[in-house]
Structures are given as structure tokens and as C-alpha cells.
């Protein structure tokens, strides 16, 4: 069944590719801010999935809708705390490569 001419698989393929591009960035990047950006990509692709499943499979309910609303709120809180930590790391080491962060406990 099509929703306005687009099969559900198209959305899912898009979000799958987005998710694993985020995973690739998470593995290869060494800067904390770019790793944070990769995490945002991953969260965003799961949001697309929640909404697509809600719209195509259970359009009478709103579970997926509210789940992605709450994911967006959690992502905002996470970004705020992450950036506070990044500024703290920068004060101590004058750069923000992840390799330094293992020394943070001292």
C-alpha cells in the first residue's frame, strides 16, 4: 500500500543509509564535536523510522509521534551537556581530540 505514492521501503532505506553514515563518522572522527554531529545523524534517522512506522502501520495511534518528540527533547538536553563538557576539556587541554579525554579524571 502506498502513502501518497511512496512505498514505506523508500523511507526506511533513506534512514538506514543515514544511520550507517552516522556510524561511519562515529568510528572515523577524532574530534569530539564531529562525533557529536554523527550522533545527531543517528538520532535523526531513528526519528524518521518512528514516524514512518507510525504513519504507515498504525496511523490511528500516536506512539511513534510522541516517541520522536521525546527523542528530540533528549537530544537537545544531551547536546547542551556535551557542549559544557567540551568547553571544560578545551580549557584543560587546549584542543578537543578524544584521546585526551581519557585523562580527564585526574
Amino acid at each position: 500500500m502506498l502513502f501518497q505514492g511512496i512505498p514505506i521501503e523508500f523511507f526506511l532505506v533513506t534512514s538506514t543509509l543515514m544511520f550507517f553514515i552516522g556510524v561511519y563518522g562515529f568510528i572515523t572522527r577524532e574530534n569530539i564535536i564531529t562525533i557529536l554531529m554523527s550522533i545527531e545523524l543517528i538520532l535523526n534517522s531513528t526519528n524518521i523510522n518512528f514516524l514512518v512506522f507510525n504513519r504507515y502501520l498504525f496511523p490511528g495511534q500516536l506512539e511513534g509521534f510522541f516517541f520522536s518528540l521525546f527523542v528530540i527533547a533528549v537530544a537537545a538536553a544531551e547536546a547542551a551537556v556535551a557542549i559544557a563538557i567540551i568547553i571544560n576539556i578545551y580549557r584543560r587541554f587546549k584542543n578537543i581530540e578524544v584521546d585526551n579525554a581519557s585523562e580527564m579524571k585526574h
Binding site: 545523524l41 518528540l69 547536546a79
Partner: protein, 172 residues
């Protein structure tokens, strides 16, 4: 048939934008450019939400993600980097590792979801107007979401306090 074709064209534009700019986000060697590409990805995602008829969530996506988080990221870039700073190229072994890991993931996920038979329905969609969303968020009866709403409120408060405490300069 005309609106269906328009929908498909818009979907292809949005998803091509998402994939193209996602790749640029994780491979760009200039960090401010990576943040800008991330902004385009988030805006194209908002476009997909509009296509699914979730207008409120698309507006939340634009204001909170594209407006809030990207601005926060750009501020922290400006606080911690020189604008001309360019990353070293990724070492080949790491790049191969990343491509293998994400390639495996893509292969398995696509294999599973293209072989699965999704049973889509044509039943009428629930009301997603602002009015219905607000009532559902504060409703403690059936189909109410007041508990997660309160949990998120406390989480946001804790995050605000934590961000201030962590970023505060210690008195020497």
C-alpha cells in the same frame, strides 16, 4: 495522478539531499562546513516530516534541531577552533574499518527490511493538530502521555543545572 508524481519528486529530492549532505558531514575536513552540512540534513528531514503530514513535528525539528542544536554546535566550534583549522586526513586503516563496519550494517539491515512484508493500512490517521497533541501530553487517562512529559521536564531541568555546573570556571 499529478500530486502523486509531485510527491515522489519531492521525496527523491529530500532523500538525495539527506544522503549527500550526511556523507559530507562525516567526511568534510573543515569543521564549520560539517556543521553547515548537518543543518541541511536536518532541514531535509523536516521536509520528510512535512511529507508524512506531521506538521507540528516538522516545526519542532526546524526550531529545536536546526535552530537550537546546530547553533549550539556552531558556538562551541567558534569557542574551541580556529576557523582555518583543517583536520588531518583519516588514516587508511581506520577508514577501511569504518567502511567495513557500516557496510556490513547497511547490508544486513537492507536485506532484512526488503525481505520483510510490511502490512500497511489505509485507516484514517489520528488527529495531529496542536490541540490534540497538547491534550494527549497532559492526559493521564488512556492514550495519555503525562508521565513521560513530566520525566522529560525533570531531565531538561537536570540538564540545564548540569551544563551550568560543568562549564562553570572553578575559583582558584
Amino acid at each position: 495522478m499529478e500530486p502523486v508524481l509531485g510527491n515522489q519528486v519531492m521525496f527523491i529530492i529530500f532523500s538525495a539531499m539527506i544522503i549527500f549532505f550526511s556523507i559530507l558531514t562525516v567526511t568534510s575536513r573543515k569543521i564549520l562546513r560539517a556543521a553547515t552540512y548537518l543543518l541541511f540534513v536536518l532541514l531535509a528531514t523536516a521536509g520528510l516530516y512535512f511529507m508524512l503530514n506531521y506538521q507540528f513535528l516538522a516545526a519542532v525539528q526546524i526550531t529545536l534541531y536546526a535552530g537550537g542544536i546546530v547553533v549550539l554546535i556552531i558556538f562551541s566550534i567558534l569557542l574551541t577552533h580556529h576557523i582555518e583549522h583543517k583536520f588531518d586526513p583519516v588514516p587508511l586503516s581506520k577508514m577501511i574499518m569504518g567502511i567495513v563496519a557500516s557496510g556490513f550494517g547497511v547490508a544486513i539491515t537492507l536485506f532484512t527490511l526488503l525481505n520483510y512484508n510490511f502490512v500497511t493500512t489505509t485507516e484514517a490517521g489520528a488527529d495531529v493538530s496542536m490541540n490534540a497533541i497538547g491534550k494527549a501530553l497532559l492526559n493521564y487517562g488512556e492514550k495519555g502521555y503525562v508521565l513521560p512529559f513530566e520525566v522529560i521536564s525533570i531531565l531538561l531541568l537536570a540538564a540545564i543545572v548540569a551544563a551550568i555546573v560543568i562549564a562553570k570556571r572553578k575559583k582558584v
